[in-house]
Each structure stands twice: as C-alpha cells, then as structure tokens.
Symmetry: C2
Subunit: 195 residues, 2 copies
C-alpha cells in the first residue's frame, strides 16, 4: 500500500499507528536530508550520504527515488523485498512520482492522504517549526502540483482526526484483502469441493 499526500498532512503519524498492527510493516525510505530532532536512523529514514544514494541509483538498487527541496528520497529495493517476504501488508510513504513508479512494478493500492483543508495544513507546517517560511511556501506549491495526480490514486483519506484516518486505512487494507484477484488460491480450493 502506497500512501502519498502533501507535506505536513500527517502521513508519518498515521503510518506509525498502522505499523503497530499484526502483519503490517512500514517501508523505511532512504534520504540524504539531515535528521530532524528525535528522528532515528533505520526508523524514520535510512539517513545516507548523497554519494551512497547516487551509488544505489547506479546499481539499480532504488525501486523509486526523487529529488525534493535539494535532497534525495527513495526506496531501497533489498529493504522492500525483505519486508514483502515477511509481511502481509507493506506500507510505503512516497510522493506521487514514486507512487507512479512503484505501481508499475508491483501490485499496489494507492491512498492519497488529504487535510480537511489546506489552511489547517499551513498552520501545522508553521507550528512544526522545522521549516523556514520560504520552505513552507515551497512545500505548499509542491502540494498543489502533487494534488493534480490524486485522480490516479485508488483511495482518498481525509486526515481530520488521526484515529479516524487510521480506521479508514484499516478498512481499505481489509477490503483489499478480499479482492477476487488476491483470493485465487482460496477460490480454487473451494471450487474443488464442489466437484
């Protein structure tokens, strides 16, 4: 499951909640940006150097990657494959470009997380205090560009309240698991009992 959405919408918090459920894990992205206070390597991101990131790209080790506000962000192939082997659901927090790339390579469900309105989001971004005013403007402009891709997504979840958003994503995960295309084996087994 791929989760995208504008910066500050609360993707990280929502995914942290969901990752605590059985059978679910969150793919940790790699980035070349500096860790914020309290961010941990291997938990929030794999914080790697620009050199290492470029080397990974060259080796075809990135499932998707993107340069954003001067930093690289991306998903390391081997890390994702490890998670897909171990878990029923793997969540990826990636932007619209990454989502488009991943959905071409893997069977994935794409969710776009939205704020109830963008005034709220501007407040959140400023309150976070980790961004300069210029960066806030930059991120909102980016949000506008990314919003244009929302219609290529499967689902939209409005993050009005964290528990609400988590419940909605849980329903989506549950429902998606009942898709006929994901139950072929079970269907064939049941059909055998009819013969």
């Amino acid at each position: 499951m791929v989760v995208s959405g504008p910066s500050g919408v609360g993707k990280g918090t929502v995914l942290k909640h969901i990752s605590s459920f059985k059978g679910v894990s969150v793919s940790v992205s790699a980035t070349t940006r500096k860790p914020r206070e309290l961010e941990k390597d291997g938990e929030d991101y794999y914080f790697i150097s620009r050199e290492e990131f470029l080397e990974n790209i060259k080796k075809g080790e990135m499932v998707e990657y993107n340069e954003y506000c001067g930093n690289f962000y991306g998903t390391i192939k081997s890390k994702l494959e490890d998670l897909l082997k171990k878990n029923e659901i793997v969540l990826l927090e990636i932007d619209v470009n990454g989502a488009s790339l991943v959905s071409k390579k893997l069977d994935c469900v794409k969710i776009f997380l939205l704020p109830p309105n963008f005034n709220e989001l501007k407040k959140r971004l400023i309150l976070r205090g980790t961004e300069t005013k210029e960066n806030v403007e930059k991120r909102l402009k980016q949000a506008y560009i990314e919003m244009k891709d929302i219609y290529s997504y499967d689902y939209v979840v409005v993050n009005d309240e964290i528990n609400n958003a988590v419940e909605k994503i849980k329903s989506i995960a549950k429902a998606e698991s009942f898709k006929v295309k994901r139950r072929k084996f079970e269907i064939e087994e049941i059909l055998k009992s009819l013969l």
Copy 2:
C-alpha cells in the same frame, strides 16, 4: 453493491444483518415463485404473478431478470430508483447474469459470497428441507456454472460465520466509499482551500 453466490450460501441472512445499518437498504427482488413459509411479500420478495412479471419485462420495467428453476426473478426499476434516492448504499442480491447486467447500467461493487466448502452447503440445502433431492442437485449444478463468473467480481467473501461475513462486507462498503472516483466533490472543495 451486488451480492451473488450459490443457493444456500446464506445471502439472505447476511443481507438482513447489513440492511439494519444506517444508510443501507436491500433491494427487494420480484419473483413468480410461491412464497416459502415465513416469507413476507415486500420484505423477502415482491411475489407477483407470471403475467405481471412478463408485463413488466415488456414495459422495460425490469433492470435485470432471469428464469431459474421454472420461476422468474428480477429487479423492478422503479423500486430500485426509489432506494437509490434515499440511501447511500443499496444492496442487490442477484445472480451472476443479473450482476453482469446491473454493472453495465450502474456504478456498482460486485461481491461473491462463497461457502467455506461445498460439502457444508450441500448439508445446508438438505437441512432447509424446502428442496427436493432433485432440486438440490439442480442448484449445485447451477452453483458450478455460476462459479465460473467469479473472476468478473470485485470481491469474494467466505461465509464461514455470519458475523464475520457481515464485518467483511462492512469493510468493503466503507473502503469503497473512500474511492477517489466517489470523492470528487470533496477533493475539489479541499483543493480550493489551497488556492
């Protein structure tokens, strides 16, 4: 939402549970077959005469219909339209042919209900005691034919336990309500606050 599945799988019971939820109603089919004990007109079916049914077909008043074991079953257009005006979700219990017809005319989500295995279903059909042995055989043969259409459905729900099946269908209904294509208005409203 269209629910199909072999005779005896428990479609009626599952739908009765779901119809008690807010915003959900079940479309009542019309049939020319005789009411079983405890069945009520307008609740289980609209029990109408063969003449009236044929007249409805002629007038284009049937959204879908089918002849099955010598009786007609179908959905009356005006009744369905009334429900769609009043409710967020309308459930239709129809067979694979009906489902195929309805999905060509309306935006619908198709769910196939299956028994955990068919041995169980054979037992259920016989226990119901409303069918002759010949009819049981006929219905199982029909089940086999209908199963071939399962891959044109969106979801499969195994009715191992009634509450389980109901919960699964609730998740599907909830998740489907977050589909981007059903949230265009809301998305546009949120996008406006970004401008």
